[in-house]
């Protein structure tokens, strides 16, 4: 906006601020609501005090920990997502690499299968999967909330297309220099794929941090339930204390926002690379 007349600059900034109000307003509302007494959240909702609290206190945060097992929800969420991301990176990177670089019988078939499974939305299979696992007696623990999401067609596809784009010569040089297939993958490919690992990790983490339907189906014990179920439970737990709920929300979203702000570049790269290529 260098050589624009001042009026247009003004209008442009006005537009930007309006958008900011729309997109950031609710976030600010949540933040400020979490810092004030419960009864004021709704009472002040119609005034500008909705966004800027008169006095700030952390009482709500304290009561989040007192009224519900927040630490347990958080621990469950961290365990579940740690498993999904940790195992998911490994399993999907292996498959992506085998599909992109190695020659083996059935490779094209598996590639087609991965692409086809990409289209199946989780919601379409949640019900039979629920019965399938319940029939095995496997429910109500952390693993059942994580293991089904480890192998992920989107993550495989992201790795696959990233590895395809790596210069082949690096691996060939390593093979000639005496490294085997696996050695080449670990010593040459992985160190040069930080961007892919980071963006897949972030995508997996963001997709599953807010997971609601599956834990709702699979868990009954509070001790294994993750944050999204926690907030929904909290929402229905009398007395309805809005300040507490919003404080819960802030605590729940904080890790994700931190992850996002810190790793923004990789996340955008990962998401955008799929989008721009189609």
């Amino acid at each position: 906006m260098n050589n624009m007349p001042w009026l247009r600059v003004l209008m442009a900034y006005g537009l930007l601020l309006a958008c900011t109000a729309v997109f950031f307003g609710p976030v600010l509302f949540m933040l400020s609501g979490s810092l004030k007494p419960d009864e004021l959240v709704l009472a002040e909702a119609g005034t500008w005090r909705a966004l800027v609290p008169e006095s700030v206190s952390l009482d709500n945060y304290r009561s989040v920990f007192e009224r519900v097992p927040f630490a347990s929800y958080l621990a469950s969420s961290l365990i579940i997502n740690g498993l999904i991301v940790g195992l998911g990176l490994m399993v999907n990177a292996f498959a992506g690499y085998a599909l992109a670089r190695l020659r083996w019988w059935g490779r094209n078939g598996v590639l087609v299968l991965v692409l086809a499974l990409l289209v199946i939305p989780f919601e379409a299979i949640a019900v039979p999967l629920f019965y399938q696992l319940s029939w095995l007696g496997w429910r109500d623990d952390h693993l059942v909330q994580a293991i089904p999401f480890v192998a992920n067609p989107l993550a495989i596809y992201l790795f696959y297309s990233f590895f395809l784009g790596l210069p082949r010569e690096l691996e060939e040089a390593a093979r000639i220099d005496g490294a085997g297939v696996l050695r080449t993958f670990f010593t040459i490919v992985i160190p040069n794929s930080a961007a892919a690992f980071a963006s897949v990790a972030i995508v997996l983490f963001l997709f599953h941090w807010g997971m609601y339907l599956w834990p709702l189906l699979m868990t009954t014990s509070e001790s294994v339930r993750p944050l999204p179920l926690g907030i929904a439970t909290f929402h229905t737990l009398p007395p309805l204390a809005w300040g507490d709920i919003l404080a819960f929300g802030v605590l729940m979203v904080l890790p994700v926002v931190v992850v996002f702000v810190v790793f923004q570049r990789w996340f955008v790269q990962g998401v955008a690379s799929v989008g721009v290529k189609g």
């Binding site: 906006m1 119609g46 292996f94 199946i120 939305p121 609601y212 996002f260 955008v268 955008a272």
Partner: protein, 298 residues
């Protein structure tokens, strides 16, 4: 095949096996199961032996007003949310494609809702849609219309429940479109704009003849993704309205879950899942083929 290739083939298989096992057990098998269940009379707690019932469940599903309403709502949802959200995302992306101070900050702010879990978004928006003149949205609309606006209970009003959920979804998703379209915009070579400007094209023409064609693939991609997500809407519905009032805001997935878990009607739920999958598949294929056809231009 030589011995050399044999070892590579072995490694390739072993690397793929864990992922393949996961995909087979947790996506492929349940999907096959869903298709099979949808042709049986399985019911939770029913003493009847499981039997093949043909298309009964599909008939039952389509005969049910709530499911039809859900289908209709999903279609309406897609028809409104996809264009609005895409246009919004495109507007934001175009705005942020200019160089100015604080661009990074604005991008972060606009994108932030995308990383919010839907359950949290739903709860926050329940507050925003709170009834009475003190509700955030009622108050804002009242102020903007100088008091003409009649406060209403959005989430309990059959006419407003679904639009309220749409607004929530658009708010949450527009940043996603923005990021992808912004990356697409930045991939358009500067020279194209310069050439168009030299040829005497104004800002509008440059947008129509350079920007939009250059964004074809990212645009089609975000349209596919948003359309599919529009059919997958569940969390917001469950938390904000439970599909009500009087099924006014129900969706296909909400009906699936309600039938399977609230009412134990597993087989009809499976039939609904299959219908849902077919819709998603058809939409994806249709949009993909569109992409392929036109993708040859560039």
């Amino acid at each position: 095949m030589t011995a050399l290739r044999h070892s590579e083939a072995r490694v390739g298989w072993w690397l793929t096996v864990p992922a393949l096992a996961g995909l087979a057990a947790f996506i492929l098998l349940p999907f096959v199961l869903a298709v099979m269940l949808s042709f049986t009379n399985l019911r939770m707690g029913s003493p009847l032996p499981v039997a093949f019932v043909g298309l009964d469940n599909y008939r039952l599903a389509f005969g049910e007003p709530a499911f039809r309403q859900g289908l209709f709502n999903n279609v309406l949802f897609a028809l409104i949310v996809v264009p609005v959200q895409t246009a919004l995302g495109l507007g934001l992306a175009v705005m942020l494609n200019n160089r100015f101070h604080g661009r990074w900050l604005f991008r972060t702010l606009f994108f932030m809702p995308v990383v919010f879990p839907l359950s949290l978004v739903a709860v926050v928006w329940v507050l925003i849609f709170a009834p009475g003149p003190d509700g955030v949205l009622n108050a804002v609309l009242g102020a903007l219309t100088l008091g003409v606006w009649e406060p209403r209970d959005f989430l309990n009003d059959p006419a407003w429940a679904l639009p309220a959920i749409m607004v929530t979804s658009i708010w949450q998703g527009a940043g996603f479109q923005m990021v992808i379209l912004l990356a697409g915009l930045q991939a358009i070579p500067r020279q194209l704009y310069e050439a168009a400007a030299v040829d005497g094209a104004g800002a509008l023409r440059r947008f129509l003849h350079v920007t939009l064609p250059g964004l074809r693939n990212p645009l089609i991609f975000v349209v596919i993704v948003t359309t599919i997500l529009s059919f997958r809407v569940f969390d917001q519905v469950r938390i904000m309205t439970r599909g009500g009032p009087q099924d006014a805001s129900t969706t296909v997935i909400h009906e699936v879950v309600r039938h399977a878990f609230d009412q134990g009607q597993v087989a009809p739920a499976a039939a609904m899942s299959v219908v849902f999958f077919l819709i998603v598949l058809a939409v994806t294929l249709a949009l993909r083929s569109l992409m392929r056809q036109q993708g040859t231009v560039r």
